[in-house]
Symmetry: C2
């Protein structure tokens, strides 16, 4: 438990705009070491004259998306989108019935669709998502997100974002931070909902991408997403995506799997005060319990390194008073 006095001291050290009348900026977080780490970090880097002070333009915070900001079980939402889209496009593509991976996808058989491994998934992804312009694809994805429902809660996926993390996003922005998503998911898929759902504009989303080409069509330039992966923003790709796209080293990083390990290291190995945070899925009742065993969002190495690297491992079960809004 955080002490009353130090808690109040922290509140007063925070920028006025961040806190209306001393209200708790993180009401869905239970008091404890993780909440305290968040509050102390923000107080330290925003306190002018302190050794930890960071000027606003260098206050960059990066967030993984799947499993860090929203649900990633029983499968990445984008994969569920791909299966639905393959099913929708199937009548116009009868040849797909000759292919076991596509047949499984059309039947809505998640395991069968994944049986082709990475190569099979890439073929499904290309067939489901490429060939169109980025704007066109974003519109398709946004439309799907309006109607699709999660099998466990029967709610739209954009309702299954973590309320405590929405509070972190708002809290950091009120303290002058730029908040960025750095996702292994497709950049245009995440951009289809990031602004409305997280308040993060398209240009602050870094993600994996297909190659783009420029053509002329009916007297207008036409950008086309080719069924060929151009960049994988996962694992060691995350620091590369950050350097390329954001152009400065973040001071805070939030992830939930080993795919975020390099991003957490790149962030917290920088000079000065840093924050690394890992969301642990250990709440079978309110969400899902998985970590080391999962084929999706596997968390092992990053968790093993957390104590020596000073990363905060957040327990969904213990640290979050509420999971969804």
């Amino acid at each position: 438990m955080i002490e009353r006095r130090s808690f109040a001291a922290l509140l007063f050290a925070l920028p006025a705009a961040a806190l209306a009348q001393g209200a708790d900026p993180l009401p869905s977080w239970r008091d404890g070491p993780r909440k305290r780490a968040l509050l102390e970090f923000v107080a330290a880097v925003t306190r002018e004259g302190s050794a930890d002070y960071v000027r606003p333009s260098a206050r960059i915070a990066v967030f993984d998306n799947d499993g860090t900001l929203w649900v990633e079980q029983p499968a990445y939402v984008q994969l569920l989108f791909i299966l639905d889209r393959i099913r929708a496009l199937a009548p116009a593509n009868p040849a797909w019935q000759q292919d076991a991976v596509f047949r499984a996808a059309i039947a809505g058989d998640l395991h069968g669709a994944m049986a082709g491994g990475n190569e099979g998934l890439m073929r499904l992804a290309g067939a489901a998502m490429a060939g169109n312009a980025p704007e066109e694809f974003q519109a398709i994805a946004a439309e799907w997100l309006k109607t699709a429902r999660h099998p466990k809660w029967n709610r739209p996926y954009t309702a299954l974002v973590y309320q405590p993390m929405l509070e972190v996003l708002r809290f950091l922005r009120a303290a002058g931070f730029g908040t960025f998503i750095v996702s292994g998911g497709g950049v245009e898929f995440v951009r289809a909902f990031s602004e409305e759902t997280y308040g993060i504009p398209p240009h602050q989303v870094v993600g994996s991408s297909f190659a783009l080409t420029v053509d002329e069509e009916a007297g207008r330039l036409m950008l086309r997403r080719e069924p060929r992966v151009d960049f994988i923003d996962d694992g060691p790709g995350k620091p590369i995506g950050i350097a390329r796209h954001i152009g400065s080293r973040p001071i805070a990083a939030f992830g939930n799997s080993d795919g975020d390990y390099e991003m957490l290291r790149y962030t917290t190995e920088g000079a000065g005060r840093r924050l690394g945070m890992i969301i642990r899925h250990d709440d079978a009742e309110r969400e899902f319990a998985y970590d080391r065993e999962s084929h999706i969002g596997r968390l092992a190495r990053a968790l093993d390194h957390a104590p020596t690297r000073g990363w905060q491992a957040v327990s969904m079960r213990d640290d979050w008073a509420r999971v969804f809004g």
Copy 2:
């Protein structure tokens, strides 16, 4: 000349924050069709309820850098940096003396250094700029910009930015726009000065880039810029860089050469009110006069298409009351 009454009407239509007590937001622009086009465009897209209204998050303006925001003659500033850097590194690389292109660079012979064509320039660029981390390279470039001087004016390059364009950047930002640089130059080179010089943070700079790799060095992750071009953000590369990085189609674009042609088209071919603007270098007295004939910043096709596409061709000589601050 803009009429008194319509000018006043425009001023009142602009957001209050943009204009202190009706002061002219573009004092270095002479009254005339180009200034009027700028004012009218911003008034139209910010006027709530108007057919041309654009919500703030979609107010994206893109700017070429060399020749649009700062001087690009007698050579791109980055090329002058490369030559200086080759000269500085030469004592540690005696083998360079065996290579005619490097010998010319070391001697400060611009024409000799360019005689090797693109291939020769890429070798110089790789030797001068690769092998380090992005942060390290930005520090080297920033240091050079502090001491280097332009041969014509003997002033730092960052003092040779166009005052009228600084006013456009500020004016657009005050009207809720996001301002982005989309440059053929190296992304880290531009990031080394964009925030201080233009008020544009690193993550709002799109540019050409070397490939990045991730290594481990002394127990820390190390990003390294390899001497291998990864992306050329010029010509048709500009719409690709915009789609990848910004993720939405701009509504205003500013350029000065045929390298900006596709960016101008991509911007102005979108639905709704758009602004395309081309800076013409026709002022031999205050800056340089070049256009169609130049080997740097050649402007021909974009200028030929301007009338039919509704792009505004700005004359430095006639439309700008002042060139530098």
